[in-house]
Structures are given as C-alpha cells and as structure tokens.
Amino acid sequence: MKRNYLAVLTACLILFSCIACVSPDNSSNNGGSSNDNTPIIGTQECEIWSAAATEKILASEKASSYDSIRKNSITLSSAKNEYESGQIVVTAKDDLSFTVELSDLVHTSSNYKITKDNFKVYTLTYTRVARNYYGNGAPTGWYPDGMLPQKNAVEYKKNVVKAGQNGGAWLSFFIPEDAMSGNYTGKATVTVGSKKVDMPITLKVYDVTVPTESSMKTLFGGHGGVYQMELDTSIEMQEKYTQFFLDYRVALTHVMTHGTAAESIVEDWYYWHKKGISTLGVYGDTMENVRAQIIGCARKSLEINENMVKKIAYFPSDIDEPFLWQNTTGIVSGKVESWRQTIESIIAELEADPTFDTKFGKELIESVGKIAFVVTDYTTDAYGNAHRYYDILRDENGNPWHYPDYVSICGKPDGFASKEEMAGYYNGAEMWWYNCNDPRNPYPTYQIDDSLVSQNAISWFMGEYDIIGNLYWNTTYHMEGSDGGATFLEDPYTNPDRQSGANGDGFLVYPGKMYGVDGPVATIRLDAIRDGNEDYELIKILKQKYAEQGLSANKIINLLTKSIYNCSVMIGGSPEFEAARERLLSLVELATTEVGVFVSDIEEHNQDGVSSYTLKATTLAGTELYSDGVKLTAQNGVYSVTKDLSEDKNYFELKAVHGNKEVEFNFYLGGKQLLYRTPDTFDTYNISGAVNGVARIGDYWMMNVTGESDKFNEIIIKHESVMQISKNTAKYIINLYNYGFTDVSYRIYVTYSKYGKVQALTGTLKPGSNKLLLDFFATANWDRNGEVQQLSIAVTGTDRLGIGSIIIYGV
C-alpha cells in the first residue's frame, strides 16, 4: 500500500514519456538527486535532503521510500512578483531539533541579489491520516500540512524530529516584481544541534511578471468558530484572516466585518477592493438585502469611478447542492426566478437613474447583468440526471426544469471528466466549479491524501478551460461532531478528519494562537493553491498575448497539461507538473518579451505507423529563431521544425534572439517509439485462447473466434511488445479489425505478475479497422501490480477478429 502511494503521489521521476506532451526530462532544471550518485547530505545524527514542493513527504515513512525523488539541492523556477516554495527534509537517526536559515540569492552574472527578507522558513506540522478517504492508495500515517513559522515552532518545540522519522522545513521565496531575470544561487543552512550543513539553492527567474491582483474569482467559505479558537473575536482578527487569504490569492466568501447591513457590506467591499481582492461575495439570504448590496456597490463604483460590480458573485447557499435533495420541486426554480427578477429590477432602477447615463454608468449596468449566480449542481445535459442522488429538478408545477443560461452551474471536477460533460457547463454564464469532500481519486481535490499537484492543477484546469470562479465551502472548519453538538477540536493540527469523510476537507489554515501566531497558519495545500492561482494568471496572459496576434494558445496549453490531467482526470505527478510549469514560464516569456515568439502547435504526423512531430511558431519582426543551434527560416511567416522519436529522449530545443534578448525553450516529446508491423507469421503474436484458425488478409491476421457468441470469448496475447510494456509506456496501440457489419463489444484484460488479472478497458469495435489505445500504464500502480505478463482481448457477438500492427511509445 505504501509503495502504491509512492507510485501515484510522487509520480516516479522516470515516469512515462508521452507523445507531444511534457514529461519529466532529466536534462531539465531539476537539481541534483540521489540518482546522480551525489550523496544526500548527512551528519551523524541525520540525513538532510530536499524534494520538489509538489511532493508530500510523510513523517512516518522511511526516507528510502523517497529515494527516487530525493535531492541534495533546491532548484526553483519563478516568474517575478510571485511566491515559489522549496522544502528541506531532515531524517533523524536520534531525536533531534533543527532550524533552517536562508541566504540572499545572488544573480550569477551581476551583483544583484534578492535579499533574504523576501523569504520565510516554516516548520511543517504533521497530521495523522488514519484512513485514506481519497481512494488513491496513499498510505495512512503522518502527513505534512501546517506551515508553522519557524520561530514559533522553536518556541513550542515543534521543530523536533523523532528518531527514524522525517521532519520538514517549508521554504517560501517571494520574487520581487523588480527582480532581474536570470539565474541565482544561494544556500539554506540547516542547523542540527551544534552542526551546520549547507544546501545549495538555485533559482531561475523568467522575464515574466505575475499580476498583483488575481483575475480568478474565488468564494472560499469560513467558519466563524475559528475566531473562538483564535481566542480573539475582534474585527482586527477577522480582517487578518481576510488579508491572509488575500495574500494567498484567495477571496473569502464574506469579507464583511462590520455587519450584515447592505451599507456595511458595501463599505467593506470597497475596503477590500482597494486592497486588490478579486471577488466580492454577496451576503444574505433575502433578495431585498442582496438587491441593496448590488445597488450600493454600483453606486459606490460610480462614485469612485472603478468597477467593483464586476467582482461580485452570489452563491445562494439556501439552494446548495440540489442534486442531493430528495425534493427540489419549485425551490431551485423559484430562487433562480427570484434572482432574475432582482437583477432586472436593479438594472431598471439604474437605467432610470440619470447619474448612470454615462459610458461608465452603462458599463456598470452591463456588469450587473453579468453577475455570477452560482448554483452548486451538475448539468443535466452532461449527466442526463443520472448523477443525481434523488430527483431531477422540477419547477413549481412539478415539471422537469433546467437551469437557464444566466445561471453559473457550478459542478465538481468529476462533472468535467470528458469534453462532452464539460460542454454542458458552457452556457454563456460565468464558469464556476467547486470542491468539497467529494469527488475522490482520480479527480483533483484539496484533500490531504491527494497530491499537491492536484491542488495546483485545479487552477491550471480553470485557466485552460476558462473557468472563472472557484468555490470552496470552508477554509476554517475545526469542529468535530455535527449540528448543535459540534465542538472544537482540541488539537486541529493533528486530526485531519472533520467527519466529512475526507481528510483536510473544510480547512486550509489552522488557528495560530495555540502556537503563538497572531492569525492563521497556512497549509502546504493553501500554498499550492497560491502557486496554481499564480500559474492561472500566466495561462491567462498566454492566451491574451496569443489572441492579440490572432492566434489561439489553446493547443499549446493543452500540450502542456495533457500529461498532468486528461479533462479533469489526474494522470500526472510532480515530474510532469514541474516540467509543464517550466514550459509555461518559457512560453509566456517568449510571448511577452521583445522576442515575441508564439508556438501555436506541435502536430503529430503518422506515416505508416511511425510518428513525427512538427512545431510551428511565428515571431514578431526582428526575431531570429534557432533549433538545435541551426537558424530557421520562416515560410509564409511560420517557422516549422520536425522531429521524430528515434532517440531514447526526443526534444524540440529552440532559442529566440531579438537584439540582446535571448529566450530558450525546449519541449520534451517522449521516449523512443517502437513499431511492430503485422508479422509474416501469426505465431509471432504468441496468441492463445479462443482462436482456432487464422488467415492473413491485407495488413491483418483474421482469427476465427471460438466460444458461444453471446459470451465474451478471450484471446490471450503474449507478443514481444507486451513484454516491453513498462511504467514508461505512454501509449500502447493495437490495430484490430471488425469483419462484421455491427459494433462488437470488447473487454481488455491485463494480467500482472503480482496483482493478477484486471479488466482495464471496455468499448466497442466499429466495423472495419480500429485502433485500440491503452494509455493507462504510465499511471498504473506498478509496485502493487508487478510486470505485465499478458494482454487479453475478449469479444462478444462475433466469430471473426483481425489483428494487425502494434505500436508502443516509451519502453
């Protein structure tokens, strides 16, 4: 089970390579590792090592479990005006305490330095996951979660590591907006007892700036009881929480601190608007109050000549999750209709007001009409109501009812698992989605036993698919029990289960007071959310810059993300994510600096089963483009470079030059491709099972399938290609031929040496040729499963099946 977890969460460094997608790439800027024969830094008392800040290193796991991801240095890549994190792990041989001190980071080609006052050191706190609710096979044990400021950890002796366990320091680096781009070096000094050990830090700062104000909307809820746990119910403490989350690029659902009257809310909105908050959450459960807030906001916006209205979003909690209700008759439709009438009446009032008869006034009125009305539900179009636990939505007359196009239907990630499902949410209203104790693996969540890559990926997905808003029910829930009987947890830090059936669900910070912190203590999950939200801004910038050139960045963004997620299904781990992020920074730098390079596509070509790739790019005038050191020439303004997969590792490596400005970009295409053409002898397939005769017809061997035609009859394949399948295999494609005139149902089984036989795929074969794509090996649980011994194809309803060539990507 533990090893299973490592396969999924740490996503082994040598994980799969795949076609036209970013994969872990040993030549990328990943720093040293134990794999390159450099020893982990050690003393008599402990081992000191590092790992990417997208990895969760459990206190209770053996350090050797992380051998594939352990490093002896910290390597960071960053835009400007953003935070990046690193981590140091101390594995204790005997009980010990440790601290970490960071140096300035010095530019390698100038005297410029990013001073250490931009950096913070936190000691990780650990929470005991007693049950893996998320369902990804991760082990139970002590997970890192809280980021306790180091000085508080020292005071409260929380920087202690027990013998045989891991203790972590989380390092937060803020890269100022005016930082020089380029490479930096510095060090982290780890003090254990009287001994000091240095760990090198390298940082690459791209010539890219993250905007200070987020464009992503967020409505993250909070539980008022946290102020009791902070032993401070003052307005100042409430403001500290709102500001804290704002610093993490998250807007709390309700920022109000001075009362729930509309006038107070608008004044609080104005206060936080000036501080750069992205979202102003409507408060109130009566439409009269909602109306007063929106009108007040419009008038305040007119007064200050800044559009606050476009930041408003309304999550009507009284119709939360209708799909869970037993009876929705008239309730949801009534609320939605009430919203429509309210907005129309507000618009009518403002249109009748001569002070709004200006260009800006009209803009405000238009913004009122676009305010997101966020209903947490799945689209009926996507699910055909199948996903509902109880009844379909009905209007007041009991007739089936569907959301009108002005409602932001806010689904959970499991509602975005395919393009077809996603389409149902694009109704013209602002796109939102949300997360809570559900979904589970393989969808991205904020749960503790899910990975930090997931917690980043939620924001990436939003950027890629134009989801504007992110809703999360609670960030500060530290109670146990329910309803009137809920009580405060004595130690919220060590208990991740708020009895919602998901570890970490309902909280993203811890109350700080019990450890002397004046305000909340962040979690590494919240830190990852900020990372993701910063990347969200970069994705938006990339899209904007491409759009300004009449281009679309969608294809190239998808090429970055397809190794992280497939629609909303998580498939990649840290290496894929770190590599994709590096490319994102490069692409944004290419598009936003004077070199002005726009990589519009990386196309796959298939010639007789052999793949090659063509990168296409355009540049601004005056920019020269080089590939593998060779200057390229544009044809009709488009540069084109083609590569095949003949090497063990295959890349596009570009350099753009404009005057003195040089920007490099490389894109990993994947490992070597193997093509097994249709063999001259059938025996080469090494087939057994339900076959009693064969004949070669064109590119296929036609097999007579034995057995009862209404049963699934199984054909076992032990071809050489099957023995090549490994965790590096991104795709395994087998060509089959359906000789009939109707669809044939099939099942694919994989037999593993340890785990045995599993059903891996089902589907139908269309009449004629079919390519069967098996792309799950890279994310399979190899430690649990063992090696692949055989593939089986079981078909029903046919007595003929053809088998042709086999292609494998990544061996």
Partner: protein, 394 residues
C-alpha cells in the same frame, strides 16, 4: 424540604458574592478551613505550555498568553483575559480533560474546589461556575467574586446540590469564568488554576420536587423562586434574553394561575439585518430528566404538553419573524426535533398545546427543551410572559 431549597436559593443569590482581599504576594497561600478532610491539590492550567485547550464563548473578546512577570502568579506565563461587552455575556472556559496537557478529571464529585489566581488592576466582579457540555452552552449558576486590585487567590466551592437541579453533575466538563456587562470591560490575568480533590466522593442531595397527579405532570409553574434555576438561555448574535420569575401584577397583568410568571425579554440584534439567527430560553436537562418523558412512551397520543403565553408588544415585520419555535434536543446535545411554532397573542393569555406524540424521538433520549425566537434588528426589546408548563392527559 422546601425550607432547605429556599435556603439554598438564598445562598445562591446573596452570599455567593465574595469580596476578596487583594493578595499581592503570590507566595501567600490561602488555607482551606472549611474542612479537615484530606485533600490533594492538582494543577489544571498553569499556562506554561501556552494556550492549549483554553476556550471562550463567541464574542468573548480576546485571550492572550502573557509573559510579563508582573502579571504572572507562578512560573513564567499567565493568560490575559480581555472580555468585551459585545452582544452576549462574555465567558471563557477551561475543560477538565486535555490530551495536549495530559490530564483527564472525570470523577467530578471528587473535586471539592477550584483554586485559581486572578490579577485585576482595580475592583472587578467576575463569576465562576461549572459547565456541562463541550461548548459550555449549558452552564450552572455562577458564584460571584469581587476582586481587589492586584492578585486575588480564589477558592471556588461548586454547589453540586444546586447544579444537580439543572444538570447531571457528573456530566460536568469544566470550569467557566464570566464577566458582567459594564461600560468599560475589565482586563484581568489568570494563572495557576488547580483543583482540590477530596478523598471521598461527594453526593449532592436531591432537591427537585414536581407536582404530579394521574392526569397532570408539572414541568414548571414558576411559583417558586428556585424555579429560576430551571431555565437557561442561549443566544445567536444578539444579547442573551433576560429571563426571570416575576410577580405578574408588578407588570400590570394577571397570572393565569398563582401570582408568578416567567418574564422573557428579547433584545435587539445591533447593526445586523435580514440574516437569520436565534435567541432562546429553555428548561435545564435535569428538569427534563426529572419529568421523565420516557414514562409516556406507548401512550403519547393520550397526552399533551401545555403552557400559557402572553405578548406585551406590537408585532412588526413579517409573520415568520415573530414565530416562537419549540425545539426539543435529544440524544445528548446533538440532535433536535422541531416540535412546532406559534404566534403569541398580545394582551391576553393564550394556551398552547402540543400533542406529546410530536416528541417521539425526544421521549427515547430526552435532553433539553427550548423556545426559540428569531433575533431582530431595529425592533426594540420584546417581552413575552410564560406560565404553567405541564403535561396533561387528554
């Protein structure tokens, strides 16, 4: 028996206010002269580990760890309590169990007294008492202490017999400290909280007496002063309701029976509009236990819960904002049944009757019983009167 109850009540309302002489020498120990029994002092909260497990009510104000030696009674740390007079009575509480601090005192009736040190800058009155659920919503009557300037060493002797009329004493979860509303709220420092254990287990005397016939089961007729102990209050965002037994004629009304009734005054929710929150008063769990709703199981259709109500103000706002809801909590404090709602008439006594079969869950696992009111802003104070809660055979 009645004399005994009255004397206890008298003690509760009069002599429980203790004036303490300022004790500026932390080393000086207060001798317990009330008994010669062997006793053992156990530290509860020294605050040397920090603020672990220190709890406070919503809107209490602020509690900080203090390291200024001037305000430390023993060791190196104490805590600074800065209550506010926002909305509701500020109180903080200290559980008798803590995993982080490593103690668990569950033999409540072995705790003879609580000793603690409180520093005040000037004279201030505080209350000490015990609470009986994890959130300290259910609290026993407090004992008042008037503190002098400087360090005050307090020994609090819980009146278990009184508390037994309200709660199951062995359910006690800890000690609470409350502050009384005043224009400028005091700041005090708390340190060195100990419990004094007795060798023997105390046994509180049973004092509650309820009138019963074959067809009539008293819940509370409010004719006796001690019945004030039968009521408790909670609040949402407004000040807690003021609840007291009064002579009806003092308020120009005639009691439906006897002379005394329960007067309930609800206060404005300041600055807040249009959001639901509730204030409420209820009957204590011990009274509910004494009534024993379980005795009606199997015959619920034959009984009805009745009480008289009277409203002394004009209604404003929507109808639903003036509803009085009846809620029965069962299965500990975790679950509630909504037993009904009523609009109380103005200027006349109205009898409300709720069939006992409405409480089907409650009779199996009774806990407490509440009347709840939506908190309102801008409506002024609202006064209701209640009398003669009872169960009658139909």
């Amino acid at each position: 028996m009645k004399k005994k109850i009255l004397s206890l009540i008298l003690a509760l309302f009069t002599s429980f206010t203790c004036a303490l002489v300022a004790c500026n020498s932390p080393e000086e120990k207060v001798e317990d002269t009330t008994t010669n029994a062997v006793e053992e002092v156990k530290p509860l909260y020294t605050f040397e580990e920090g603020l672990f497990n220190v709890r406070m009510a919503m809107w209490f104000g602020d509690i900080q760890l203090n390291k200024d030696p001037k305000y430390v009674f023993k060791g190196e740390k104490s805590i600074k309590l800065s209550p506010t007079n926002q909305l509701s009575t500020p109180y903080m509480y200290l559980p008798l169990q803590s995993n982080l601090l490593g103690f668990s005192y569950t033999e409540i009736l072995k705790i003879k007294s609580y000793k603690l040190a409180v520093y005040a800058e000037e004279n201030v009155t505080i209350g000490l008492g015990l609470y009986f659920d994890k959130r300290a919503d259910y609290r026993g009557p407090e004992q008042k202490y008037t503190l002098g300037a400087g360090w005050n060493e307090i020994t609090y002797y819980p009146q278990y017999a009184i508390m037994d009329m309200q709660y199951t004493v062995t359910d006690c979860k800890g000690l609470y400290i409350m502050f009384y509303e005043q224009e400028v709220m005091p700041v005090v420092y708390l340190d060195d909280v100990n419990i004094v254990l007795s060798e023997t287990t105390l046994s509180p005397e049973k004092l509650m007496v309820l009138k019963r016939t074959d067809t009539y089961f008293e819940i509370c007729d409010f004719e006796n002063a001690y019945q004030h102990l039968m009521t408790i209050t909670q609040t949402g965002l407004a000040k807690a309701p003021s609840v007291g037994i009064v002579d009806a004629k003092d308020y120009g009304i005639t009691a439906p029976s006897g002379s005394r009734v329960l007067r309930v005054e609800l206060f404005d929710k300041e600055g807040a509009t249009n959001s639901y929150s509730w204030t409420k008063w209820g009957f204590v769990p011990a009274l509910i236990e004494e009534i024993n709703f379980g005795q009606f199981k199997g015959h619920l259709d034959e009984y009805v819960l009745k009480f008289e109500t009277y409203r002394d103000f004009e209604l404003t706002g929507a109808v639903y904002e003036n509803l009085v809801e009846i809620n029965a909590y069962y299965n500990g404090y975790g679950v509630q049944d909504w037993a009904g709602a009523t609009i109380i008439e103005k200027g006349v006594w109205q009898t409300d009757a709720i069939p006992l079969n409405t409480f089907a869950n409650f009779v199996d696992s009774q806990y407490s019983f509440w009347l709840s009111f939506i908190e309102r802003g801008g409506s002024g104070s609202r006064v209701y009167y209640f009398d003669n809660f009872r169960i009658e055979k139909i």
